[in-house]
Every structure is written in structure tokens, then in C-alpha cells.
Symmetry: C3
Subunit: 132 residues, 3 copies
């Protein structure tokens, strides 16, 4: 069975909040984990502060400066920076579930980190419900 | 059921060795995995060398330089660098368990990477014991 | 039971494609996840584009520049850069399995990111087959 959620980005570099979409998947899971996997090589998944939007802006600006869209790169599509930032943040996340809720700290939101948008993206998932 | 371990840091930037605390959780698990999750947006989890303390010092110094505590950031709390380093290292880890022991290489120790301490931190965990 | 795959690198910095080796482990798994763990502190695991080899070259070049093999480091073995890049990419991966195949996007390949080769490396794994 293919388990997928769909995410759309509207900027080249953007943190798209997918907390609600992921939370909806685990409502009926008493205790377990959900594994999330981005099916792409130019966007990643991460968890960080979702309260003050300036945090996301600062993160995007810092990563943009850290790995510039340089002309030195050889990959002809001009998005090597996007590939690199994808491996730095990582394409997968494993989130814990307790009593039908994601186990997240008070400030933690789940984001798809878009590094080469705007695009339509797919995130695969699998739930393991037997934990102790 | 809430499964948590508590970790205290004593510096703004510090790698706190939590290998013993995590090992103690898996003593009775024959074969499985333990998922660890930091409940915070300014500290991460990582595994790296624990034998020579200079490795941790070099890692902290390099990250401090890579993502400086810059005045250019907009987030008013002045800890955007901490948020960024948290997403670079990542807030979660999945460790393997064989015969009641963490599956770690000879030099590998488990660390909470504190990027905005000193603070009291909480790490959630879940154990999945049926593996093949 | 010890579950391990062996990987050899031939350069100091190299992305070694291990997609085939990992795929072979999951052929008989209907639905599940495979957890991979590098047992070393100077190589990591990542997933990124495997079609155009220039992507790997650009990634290695960018990381080499981002974390140089600097003389400022204190760790006497001269490979602090390798340790740092290991924590940036991360030593573990959790991949999804559907119908005996890894759930990967069309461009995604699994790589061991060697940061201090050439070396012989070991990657531990565990499969969890009960997912929903």
C-alpha cells in the first residue's frame, strides 16, 4: 500500500508547515512512531520553531548564505545548492506518537524544507504502532 | 505513557554525553531499536567520537564559526544560530539494539548537542522490540 | 544476531552508492522499514541524486569548502573536519519498504558519505516489518 501526503511550496526556498497534515495521520494510534520520507532530492524534512515566523526566515537566510547557488558547481541544472541543503537537513524524520498525538515540544512544528521550489512534493510515511 | 530522560547542560554550546542514560533504557531489550527525540528547538541529538574530548571542542568551534550568533538575524531572542544548528544536526536519532546493548562503533558516543544553554532538557524515547 | 553490510571507499571524500546492497536486504519484506547505522565517527549515510555524478562531486566540493581540513583544530589526528561532516549528514537513516522495494523517489540513491577514506566500513541494519 502506498502511503503518501502531498505538499505544495510557493517559493524557491521555503519552510512549509506540515504539522497538521502529519498529526491527522496518527489520531488513531495509541502509542508508536511515524516515519516520514521525502521522495525528492531537493527538499528535506525538519522540525523547528513554528511560533515566530522570523525563525524560519532566519534559517532560510542563513542556509542561503552557507550554501550559495554558486556558478562553480558542475551539475547543469543549477540547483546543486538545493541538493546539498537536502543532505544537510536530511530527507527523513521519525516522530513519536503518544495517545494519538505527535510527541512534540511546545515550540516544535514539522516542516518540509523546500530548497528548489515552487513545486508539488510527496512525502511517504509508515506507522509502527507496537512500542514499549 | 510518557517516556522521557532529563539532561542538563552547563554551557551555551556543549556536547553532553548521554550514552550511559540511553544504554540503561535498553538493557532488557533483546533485539530492537530505540527512537530518541529532543523536545526542543535549540538543541539536537548526535553521535560522534567520545574518546578524545578535543573532537567535541573542534565540532563546537567549527559550528560556532559556520553559523555565527549574528546581529543580522530578525528573531528577537538572539538565538537564531541555535535554531539553525538544531536543524543541521537534527532533533532525532534512531539507535539499534542487539542483545541488550546499543549498536555503536567503538568510538561512538551519544550526545545532546546544546546550542542555547545552560538549560534543562527533555528527550522523549520509544522502543520497538520486534525486528528481524 | 549481528546484521551488517560492508562498504569500501577509495578516496578521502567520496559518496559510495550502496542502493543495491540495501535493496537486496529488503526483497522479502512486504511492508516495513529498514534502519541503517554507520558504526563510524568519520563517515555518514545520506540519500541524494544518483543519476548525474556531478551532483555528488558538487556536494563533496561544497562540504570540503564549508568545513575545511583546518590546522586550527585541536584533535591530533587531523580529521576533525570528517567528524563534523559526519554529524552534519548524520550516521543513521530509516528507509521505508513497500512490496519488497525501498520507497525512494526516482532520483534517490542511498550513499555512504566517506569523509576520511579510503577505508573499509561497516553499516548495521535492522528491519521492522509490522507497519500500518
Amino acid at each position: 500500500m502506498k502511503r503518501r501526503i502531498r505538499v505544495s511550496s510557493s517559493q524557491r526556498e521555503e519552510l512549509v508547515d506540515i504539522t497538521e497534515q502529519v498529526s491527522a495521520l496518527v489520531r488513531d494510534v495509541e502509542d508508536g512512531v511515524i516515519h516520514l520520507w521525502s521522495l525528492h532530492t531537493t527538499c528535506a524534512l525538519t522540525v523547528n520553531e513554528g511560533a515566530d515566523p522570523d525563525v524560519a526566515r532566519d534559517m532560510l537566510a542563513a542556509l542561503h548564505e552557507l550554501v550559495p547557488q554558486s556558478s562553480k558547481f558542475r551539475h547543469a541544472e543549477g540547483n546543486s545548492d538545493s541538493h546539498i541543503k537536502t543532505s544537510l537537513f536530511g530527507p527523513g524524520l521519525t516522530l513519536l506518537i503518544e495517545d494519538g498525538d505527535l510527541v512534540l515540544g511546545i515550540w516544535q512544528h514539522v516542516f518540509l524544507a523546500e530548497w528548489d521550489g515552487p513545486r508539488k512534493r510527496e512525502v511517504a510515511y509508515a506507522i509502527v504502532s507496537a512500542v514499549e
